[in-house]
Symmetry: C2
Subunit: 202 residues, 2 copies
Amino acid sequence: MIDIAREYRLSLPAWIDDELAEVPAVIPDRADRMRLVHRLADRTWRSGDGGPFAALVAEQDTGRIVSVGVNVVLASGLSGAHAEVLALALAQTAIGGWDLGAEGVPGHELVVNWRPCVQCYGAALWSGVRGLVVAGAGPELAELTAFDEGPLRDDWAEQFEDRGIEVTRDVLREEAVAVFRAYRAALDAGEVTVYNARGGST
Amino acid sequence: MIDIAREYRLSLPAWIDDELAEVPAVIPDRADRMRLVHRLADRTWRSGDGGPFAALVAEQDTGRIVSVGVNVVLASGLSGAHAEVLALALAQTAIGGWDLGAEGVPGHELVVNWRPCVQCYGAALWSGVRGLVVAGAGPELAELTAFDEGPLRDDWAEQFEDRGIEVTRDVLREEAVAVFRAYRAALDAGEVTVYNARGGST
């Protein structure tokens, strides 16, 4: 029989316990949810686990934190291990099913520190979330971090809305850009790896 | 501390051992690689693990099979557990890194039984594969299976080519449609679950 791998696993970094030690189970204010995302994104690249990206899934109405995710492409050796992928999968692990918008389940939102790349755009579409909350959606991410975000259609936000997913932008936008700028300084100093698009020089 | 999941895992179904028992380590002919994909896709939906989709990663020149993947959305309870996601992650597990196109690594191709959905389109873009081989790319998939494939740009194939990923279409196309038709018959009979797009009625 051919010898192939049959299973893989994805984990949050061990340092996540430090970062979550003081985090309450419920974060009622949306900006405070984003503040946590920014903190995790900053720690992720500084720790060498992956790019400067983090996400979380929360119950829309209560602000209960259901999951968090960070980019662990470098730590895991898997190119698809983006923050949104981990946050969505860990949220579905928590609720015990593939549909975060299922009947009888509270509405969930995905909170991310920038507009998702094309992979995570699709991951969000299929996840059942009812809302996407981003700090920003412009070209700053690609320009500052040198990550290729892939070809999204101009109507990307309308496509979410058409599927019942509300899009909220510009939540702590400057704070997101500050994380990218710090990452860029490290990139220019040759201290970090951009891992996509054939090494990522765009 | 908030109580959240820190890890998840994705596995091929146990029946994969049966299907791979007679499969050689190297499949030199591309149509034969696709034939294996179609067989796995058919078994996947019949077994109740997920939708009628399968994929594999092979070395382009030799045809050595590096990984296989099938859709395990229903089996895993994770909406992102598409065939391409498993095939790419298991291939990266096999080579020990996030870039299937890294220097010193043989060129890899992703073989799938239809054009990827928007999530897996992105997953393929970031994986380092040098080729994408699909049985077909038209509206038949969505029309027959009722799965929402998401909004791809019209220039989706050019975007692959621009990043050095060669796209090959129409490899055993009719055989792919035959799998979708069988799935559709089961769908019309109420025997299977379409799991995306809020239950999937499109």
